[in-house]
């Protein structure tokens, strides 16, 4: 049985002792010290720090032990199955970490003379070309730091396109299916668009009639995920593209679900004008507990002139950064992108090649359909939408029957799964499925692991009928039991930093 470490590790501020330290900064040479004198003499009185920051004071071994213990109370892809739907939690090859850790990258400054950074520019330039090829786009920009950042850029490009054509004032509607990721409407709103929700039809796909009714001269574009968040391919994509384009809108591809179609079909060939890619999903770079990732954006030819500066160009001899782009929207961040992350994606593509990437897609789809097949007869779970339609990278079940019968919800199933040493699926998403459990096994877990997962779900559903109390109070084997999330967000009790905690609870110290 799985048992996670439960160290009861104190908060770091209560560890250590005054005067201790874990690192000594480099010394200042005597001549330098003498020449400059007291640096505080250089700082005007009102700008000197009077109260030292109340940082912890620990020795180096104390710091190491503290954070190693914390890491032991965490769960990653290397720990076991992580079927978190839409997040594509695949194995992260170790060689890529080794390469990205090179000082030949780490110690390179972004403003160095181009002649001294030809190696990294070549890597980034080639990666752009490969990603353009994979998505069927003309050009790719590597700058966005995450998928949502890429979406924001995509929405800004749609804005720039309509502005350029003098239609921005009129085109304010961004159409978004009700099954879309939450980032889509949020990104569109950030870029100044009104969100118009398009319902899904009985097949779980965009309702084409509803789409026809929604498009107008106000349409800026449609943001679509394909395969969608049900794992179902939008088979009417050709008609959808036609409807949006004829209305004068652009078609945006949310690349969160690119994995199952890698090197099989391409968004560009389906009529999409803009795509973002989640490097930390499809291209195997680790998620780091929330980031850093990278969210490159690809565009068709007519949108390329709007991309952020600088663009990496190659004159046949040397790679250069080109800032001379009069139509560029400008910048969405500093410098050129999450380069250390992008380098790992470069190594990933290089190691797999075209055939390898195609196999990635196929095995991820096979695994998802295997899970669907194995779970569809589990008592308590329902499979919404036609079971004859093959799913792509993920499948979505509903725990509604189980809840009706036993009171055990999707949340409880998810929490109980943790006791089996399996990360929970995505819960309560997509919103169009009640009590949703969204399962994405990816290509990097073997049949034995998938079977273990299926067996765990089956057992939990059985337990829900025989001993629902047990499931309702799960998890038991994790570092802590169920946490009070309401308390964490309530104005009276919220403690969002140690100083805020001390202010509110002067007496008890965890």
């Amino acid at each position: 049985m799985f048992r996670q470490a439960a160290w009861n590790e104190p908060i770091i501020f209560t560890l250590g002792r005054a005067g201790r330290r874990g690192h000594i900064p480099p010394e200042v040479e005597e001549t330098v010290k003498k020449a400059v004198g007291d640096v505080y003499g250089l700082i005007p009185e009102n700008m000197r720090r009077r109260n030292p920051p109340r940082l912890p004071e620990l020795s180096e071994p104390e710091v190491v032990r503290h954070f190693v213990r914390l890491s032991e109370m965490n769960y990653g892809v290397d720990s076991g199955l992580y079927p978190l739907g839409s997040c594509t939690m695949k194995y992260n090859p170790k060689i890529n970490e080794e390469l990205a850790g090179s000082p030949k990258l780490g110690m390179v400054h972004p403003y160095q003379d181009e002649r001294t950074v030809q190696g990294i520019l070549e890597i980034l330039y080639r990666l752009e070309r490969w990603l353009a090829e994979i998505t069927g786009m003309a050009e790719v920009c590597l700058q966005p730091a995450a998928g949502a950042h890429g979406e924001f850029l995509g929405a800004l490009l749609i804005r720039a396109y309509h502005k350029h054509r003098g239609e921005l004032d009129q085109r304010k509607d961004m159409l978004i299916p009700d099954s879309a990721h939450g980032t889509n409407p949020a990104s569109a709103a950030m870029a100044g668009f009104n969100v118009v929700v398009i319902p899904s039809d009985r097949d779980g796909c965009v309702d084409v009639e509803a789409l026809k009714a929604a498009v107008s001269e106000k349409t800026a574009g449609l943001m679509l995920t394909n395969p969608n968040t049900l794992g179902i391919f939008e088979k009417n994509i050709e008609e959808i593209a036609k409807i949006v384009h004829e209305a004068g809108g652009l078609l945006y591809y949310d690349g969160a679900n690119l994995n199952p179609i890698l090197c099989k079909v391409r968004p560009g060939d389906m009529g999409f004008d803009i795509v973002h890619i989640n490097i930390h999903k499809t291209f195997s770079t680790p998620h780091g507990g929330g980031g850093p990732g990278a969210g490159p954006v690809g565009v068709k030819e007519e949108l390329a002139k709007f991309l952020p500066v600088p663009r990496i160009v190659f004159d046949g001899e040397r790679y250069r950064l080109d800032y001379n782009r009069p139509y560029s929207i400008g910048k969405i961040r500093s410098f050129y992108g999450n380069v250390a992350v992008l380098l790992k994606a470069y190594a990933y593509i290089l190691s797999l090649g075209f055939e390898g990437l195609r196999e990635v897609a196929e095995v991820s789809v096979l695994n998802a359909n295997y899970i669907m097949h194995k779970l569809k007869n589990v008592d308590g779970l329902a499979l919404p939408y036609d079971e004859k339609t093959p799913r792509k990278h993920e499948c979505v079940f509903s725990a509604k029957p189980l809840k009706a019968k036993t009171g055990v919800s999707a949340l409880n199933v998810a929490k109980r799964l943790l006791d089996y040493g399996v990360h929970a699926p995505t819960m309560y998403f997509p919103l169009i499925v009640e009590e949703a459990l969204m399962i994405e096994p990816t290509e990097t877990f073997e049949k034995e692991e998938l079977d273990r997962f299926v067996e765990a779900v089956r057992e939990i559903c059985r337990e829900a009928q025989t001993n629902p109390e047990k499931v309702l109070k799960a998890p038991y084997n994790t570092a802590v039991q169920r946490l009070d999330e309401v308390k964490a967000s309530h104005p009276q009790t919220m403690a969002l930093s140690w100083r805020m905690y001390l202010k509110k609870h002067a007496t008890t110290k965890p």
């Binding site: 190491v64 390469l99 950074v117 410098f335 075209f354 969002l496 930093s497």
Partner: protein, 451 residues
């Protein structure tokens, strides 16, 4: 395949219209072995020259600092590295606690109450801060200093334009670089959502009139946003002590490598004010207890602000952030502690001012351009030497030294000027080498040889 009763994988793709399937392989590389990949990538990377190959005096938003070995060891722990966002709190306590500790340390450093667990970088954090200030004040103008990093300014414009927020620039004093209080007074109005300053400023000097700026800002019921280089806060007054409402900054110096400019670490903090907290962008980790109240624990707090719940009404679209860089910063700050950070601040300021002194002795150079205290960056003007920055830097490069950032086009009124950066990684010998090289270049003189 047998279990799910298919003969070929193609059956699982049968619902996709046939016309979309690739007819021929894409122009992608052939797959390589692990050793093949290693050799290939290392061969490319070896074409880069690094700060280890030559002294580099560049800063401007990404700075060379030493990263202690412990930091990399911890962030490479695969339980941290290969985890997703801690949606399932009970199995992700380690990451949640590490991020809570990061948030708490940023609060101590900046003297603010609440910090989120990261933004993409300083520039995007500034964009989000401006939008947040506009939402809180229901006003649509932000005042920024004229001396600001051009990439931060460009990012700010792109972030606020769709929200209908205008950006106005406040003049600076030509002698000192300091924000002109008169110009600020004349530009601030009932439309002003926020006033933004940077400390140290983009051009390296310390903005000293912050108390007055804070006063003027608050007298107009606007919010005061301050951008910081956190590594200065061991010795410089934290923005929370001069009235900042929102603090943003670049956390890259805290235990993260430069990596050719990314990933970076956007710092974002504000005061303990419910109205502000509810408008914050990004993930925030909170300290709570188990449901039975028996044990403490951590979870994501205030998720109702976020995109996965609020969708188009969210405070921001941010989802993935720079969490692991934040963990690196927490480990770094824990290693240094208050004394280490103060000493490091002293070391950096001492070395940078030493470099300023040496360079200012070179006839023809004006170092620094502004009469003001400088922390780790400073300006070098070449007008008196009759040299273009480009020429001087080309000559430096030939001597195996990389000069600072050319800012002549960004601030034409400052003439031929470059922004130099000196940190704890630069040795006295390297600084001397720079001074000697510049002296030679200047005395070789004029515009003759270096183009």
């Amino acid at each position: 395949m047998h279990e799910i009763d298919i003969k070929s994988i193609d059956e699982l793709y049968a619902d996709i219209p046939a016309k979309y399937f690739l007819k021929k392989p894409l122009a992608l590389p052939e797959g390589l072995s692990e050793l093949g990949v290693k050799k290939h990538v290392e061969a490319l990377l070896s074409k880069n020259k690094t700060c280890l190959d030559m002294p580099v005096f560049l800063g401007a938003g990404c700075w060379p600092h030493y990263v202690p070995a412990v930091v990399r060891e911890i962030v490479q722990r695969s339980e941290f590295l290969t985890a997703y966002t801690p949606y399932q709190a009970e199995i992700s306590q380690g990451m949640l606690q590490a991020l809570f500790e990061y948030q708490s340390m940023i609060c101590e450093l900046t003297a603010m109450d609440v910090a989120n667990c990261s933004m993409y970088d300083w520039a995007s954090a500034l964009g989000e801060a401006a939008r947040m200030a506009s939402r809180i004040t229901r006003r649509n103008e932000i005042l920024i200093p004229k001396i600001i990093h051009p990439e931060r300014k460009a990012t700010l414009h792109v972030y606020v334009e769709p929200a209908g927020i205008n950006v106005k620039e406040v003049e600076y004093n030509r002698e000192t670089g300091q924000i002109s209080l008169n110009d600020l007074e004349s530009k601030i109005s009932k439309e002003t959502a926020a006033v933004y300053v940077e400390n140290p400023s983009y051009l390296g000097f310390i903005e000293t009139h912050v108390d007055e700026i804070s006063q003027i800002t608050h007298a107009h019921d606007a919010l005061f946003i301050v951008g910081v280089d956190p590594i200065s806060l061991g010795i410089l007054k934290p923005p929370g002590e001069y009235g900042a409402d929102i603090v943003v900054g670049e956390g890259e110096p805290l235990g993260n490598s430069m990596n050719y400019g990314g990933p970076l670490l956007g710092i974002f903090a504000c005061r303990d004010d419910q109205n502000m907290i509810r408008q914050m962008p990004g993930r925030i980790i909170g300290l709570t207890t188990t449901v039975d109240g028996g044990k403490h624990g951590f979870c994501m707090a205030l998720q109702t602000r976020e995109q996965h719940i609020r969708r188009e009404k969210a405070t921001s679209n941010i989802c993935s952030n720079e969490a692991l860089c934040a963990v690196a910063a927490a480990v770094y700050l824990a290693l240094l502690g208050p004394n280490g950070l103060r000493e490091l601040g002293e070391t950096i300021m001492c070395k940078a001012n030493y470099a300023m002194r040496l360079l200012s002795k070179i006839e023809g150079l004006k170092v620094p351009v502004f009469k003001a205290p400088h922390f780790k960056e400073f300006t070098v003007n070449f007008d008196g030497a009759g040299l273009k920055v480009r020429e001087a830097h080309e000559a430096l490069l030939q001597k195996g030294i990389h000069g600072g950032k050319n800012v002549s086009e960004e601030f034409p009124e400052l003439g031929e000027t470059a922004l130099y950066c000196v940190t704890e990684i630069h040795t006295e010998a390297e600084i001397r080498r720079l001074a000697e090289a510049l002296e030679e270049i200047v005395s070789a003189g004029g515009r003759k040889s270096y183009v």
